[in-house]
């Protein structure tokens, strides 16, 4: 009886204890609060378009805070608009919610590196690649970070892996060439850079790396040529699945303009114009946007549409020289040469020290067959900015029209020296030299032109004329009395 009562009281005590624990647990333990949704530090200062985009993505993340994708996308929006502190915060949340998506980690590491936290970025990407050993874009970024932190051997290992994962893409070869150059292994670097160039002959970074490798191998002239081809190099990173999204999120006005410039350079004019047209909707009275969109129309042979925008820009700010430079170009394209000259004069009035203004005026004068005046303006343009081979060529052509052949040849020669890979400079120099009977100079120019583009029609024409002249000269020589 006593035992049974004791047993019962033990059961009651146990049940009570469990009950108390459960009650206590229920009291103290509540579900984890939702992850923080990272907001911009200065929301009200953001560009209206960007502000709208951020608010839209914030709302999604706040409505469903346990969804990694919302935080990841928000992070990409911040990244695309240079808000790297906010980007890192959002992407870290996404990484923690879904560690199986390596893209978030890659972009978080990029944000960290932009914030100067190289070691953290390296740690993060190394851990990610431990879990996702086939994530090729991760090796590209990690290799780059390791190079930045002075570890070329380790970077080389990552790029070797990238080459094995993506043998038909340039990224691994370029990264490995860079690492090998830094290790002094120039012959290997040269092979790798050539491999990259076989995949993408226009990749300037690969030309630069090949130039450095040649320099290390003592091939001075080859180095000089490749380094010149590498001018303007920009490192490209292997895109991951989010890269397209990232590009689409560039909403700030300067980001949009930069993106449009990039698209114009890549020949995607339609896309570039649509980005600028969208930008204009949010800033209808912004003369920078008006001018950039007008320039886009000029690039696509739509001068009337350009002029319409430029007239609007001049009405908003009558003192912006860029507007009149673009108007000059628009009027030239339309064929209103006298109008073009007027606009060029206005631009020059506003920016008398700008080489571009003299160049623009000079070109308008050329179109009006006013060669003497054009020569003065183009000479002034070069005095102010001698770095543009196109102006040397224009001046050379003007001089040729004025029968100043030596001066013309000098201008073409200067253009070819300034830009050793500028085809028109060599072709013009070759043709003029032929006309002037300077076969030696013509041959050198032809060799340079053929090195750049053997099959270009203008180069073939130069070759044909050179061969004909050469044969003619031979004939003259053979006809001479012995």
């Amino acid at each position: 009886m006593v035992v049974r009562r004791r047993k019962r009281s033990r059961i009651i005590l146990f049940a009570a204890a469990v009950g108390v624990c459960a009650a206590a647990a229920a009291f103290f333990i509540r579900p984890s609060p939702p992850p923080l949704v990272v907001k911009p530090l200065h929301m009200n200062e953001l560009d209206p378009v960007l502000q709208k985009l951020v608010r839209e993505k914030l709302a999604l993340a706040e409505a469903d805070p346990w969804n990694d994708r919302h935080h990841g996308i928000l992070g990409l929006v911040y990244s695309a608009n240079d808000m790297f502190a906010e980007a890192l915060g959002s992407l870290e949340v996404a990484c923690r919610l879904e560690p199986e998506t390596p893209d978030w980690s890659l972009h978080a590491a990029t944000a960290e590196s932009k914030l100067g936290q190289l070691d953290r970025a390296i740690d993060r990407l190394s851990a990610t690649l431990g879990k996702h050993p086939d994530f090729a874009p991760g090796y590209d970024s990690l290799g780059h970070l390791l190079l930045q932190s002075g570890q070329p051997a380790l970077a080389g290992e990552k790029y070797e892996r990238l080459v094995s994962l993506a043998p038909d893409r340039v990224y691994g070869y370029v990264g490995l060439a860079d690492a090998r150059n830094r290790q002094g292994r120039y012959a290997e670097a040269a092979d790798l850079a050539r491999e990259a160039l076989s995949l993408d002959p226009d990749y300037k970074t690969a030309h630069h790396l090949l130039g450095l490798a040649y320099r290390g191998l003592g091939k001075r002239e080859e180095a000089r040529s490749e380094l010149a081809r590498g001018i303007g190099a920009k490192k490209r990173f292997m895109p991951d699945d989010s890269a397209r999204l990232l590009a689409g999120f560039s909403s700030g006005i300067m980001a949009q303009i930069s993106q449009a410039e990039f698209l114009f350079d890549s020949g995607k004019h339609g896309m570039a114009i649509s980005i600028l047209a969208k930008a204009l909707k949010s800033r209808p009275n912004d003369t920078t946007v008006l001018n950039n969109l007008a320039a886009g129309y000029l690039k696509t042979d739509q001068p009337e549409r350009a002029l319409e925008l430029l007239v609007r820009a001049a009405g908003i700010d009558p003192n912006q020289f860029a507007t009149y430079l673009n108007m000059t170009e628009a009027e030239m394209q339309i064929g209103n040469i006298s109008e073009a000259i007027q606009q060029a004069e206005r631009a020059l009035e506003l920016a008398p020290n700008l080489g571009h203004a003299h160049e623009s005026y000079g070109m308008a004068l050329v179109a009006a067959d006013r060669f003497e005046e054009a020569r003065v303006q183009l000479t002034d343009a070069l005095r102010l900015d001698s770095t543009k081979p196109a102006v040397h060529i224009a001046l050379g052509e003007v001089c040729a029209r004025l029968d100043l052949m030596e001066e013309a040849k000098e201008q073409f020669a200067l253009a070819s020296r300034r830009m050793p890979n500028h085809l028109p400079a060599h072709v013009n120099l070759g043709l003029l030299s032929l006309n002037m009977g300077d076969l030696g100079q013509a041959e050198r120019a032809l060799a340079s032109a053929e090195r750049i583009a053997m099959d270009h029609p203008r180069v073939r024409l130069l070759r044909k004329q050179f061969d004909e002249t050469g044969n003619h000269q031979d004939r003259i020589r053979s006809d001479e009395p012995r």
Partner: protein
Amino acid sequence: MSLDKGATIKPPSDKGVLLVSAIVVAVALPSAYVWLGNRPQEGRSNGPLVRHVEAEVAWFENVLDRSNIDFVHSTGPTRFLFPEIIVGGVCAFDYDNDDDVDLYFVQGADISNLGKWTRGNRLYRNHGDGTFEDVTVAAGVGDTQCGVGCTTADHDGDGDVDLYVTNVGPNVLYQNNGDGSFSDVTDVAGVGDESFGSSSAFFDFDNDDDLDLFVVNYIRWSPGQELTCYHNSGARTYCSPNNYNAPAPDTLYRNNGDGTYTDVSDTSGIRQNFGNGLGIACDDYDGDGFPDVFVANDGMSNQLWMNDGRGGFQDEALLAGCAVNGMGAAEAGMGVQNIDIDNDGDRDLFMSHLREETNTLYQNEAGWFDDNTAVAGLGGASLKFTGFGLAFADFNHDGHLDLYIANGRVTRHDPALDPNDRFAEPNLLFSSNAPARFAEVFPRGGTTEPLVHTSRGTALADLDNDGDLDLAVANTNAKPYLLMNIAPKSGNFIQFRIPEKNGSDALNAVVMVETSRGRQYRTVQTSYGYLGSNDVRVHFGLGDAARVDNVVISWRDGTQSTFGPLRANRTHVLSRSDATYAAGFE
């Protein structure tokens, strides 16, 4: 903003919370705490993870308030006019030959009203007791244009130091009269370059024993050419120099030896190529006995003008490897210093750059430069700052060069580190314990409390003549810093003044000192860093070496003089006139 790295978190399930609560109590609480409280994890730093050195005490003390220097830089109200964001030079030179280094601060101007603003540049005479006196009016050097930078040298070879000021507009040459006053001799000398000048340097490019003048010009700019630019986030900010598409050609003036100069920019070839120039470093980079010129360009390829010894220059930067960084990208060159950081006898180059670019070390190996920034440990810490003024010096006398970098943004970024100055950034200090290997020193910038302003030019000088090197730092739209060196010393020093026969400083001579620890090299020079000039004396930290066994001076005409042994912890005057040790003072 940054969150701590916590465990993976999954959404809570409504089911079975009570049943498992006793079990999960130990797990869930820390997880919840991580989200709510942002608790730092063990072993992880919340700050930037760069390799760094924790200083036990500060290396510098800002003594401006005790110095009587009342200069406040100003460019008027912010209107996002381009020059506002890059100006601010300072020169350190002994204008009155009293052996104390004086300071000259270049003043900005309300750029929208160029020419109508009258605060002007200021010259402060060093009393030698830690205080300075504004002697601008008596000296007659208070140019009131929108000033950019300055440089100093004895341009007329009369034994006192003259002053050249670059402006957004005509530059000015002040010739020292030797009595505490200067005369504006710009027109007579013919050196009033009207471009937007930035850095400048006197050097004898034709080895004819008088100093010629190289003026670096930035862009062709006028208020009428201003553009409207925005940060990617949409906020209004300053444009990039490349937005103007108007790089300005530089100018080389040859000294005629009679107080006048001839503009030889075209005939010398230095206008074959140019960019948005900001920095200059003149030195003999190929060891052929003729000084060459390195020009740092902002957002464009740099130039390395190699002197052919016949009055001509050829740009060899691309092949030499210092036109662009190791990946072929042109960076935003601001400040530059030429110095032998690896003690191999040739001059390396270090440049300060924009945020998201590293500052870059171009290490000279037999005439070829390699981008060794990362290996030297100078890359990561600079990625998030925009560098301008810079100065390598052995601040703690351990026998290895340290490095100070003045920072300040040129575009808006968040977070703002000073609510009143959206462009302010802390400066950086690096120390070294091996040649060409650096680590950042904390507290950041070497001061007890980080100093955060928009810093620009730096001037390195032994301002109190105590044998260690101090710094004056110019800040845009703010007071400067006057940073006295209080670093704990781990060795001895030696310092030299190197005059030519006529008493002028022997610019571009190279000094080699040899101790039991090895050799070190310095060039006698004033113009390096950003928009300013530095103490012309050459200073070496010696570590535990108590004397210098041998000093060899290679004069710019190719001859050499040998001195020594010399005692440490003194400033010696090594004169060429008798090529013997002249004097040393404590």
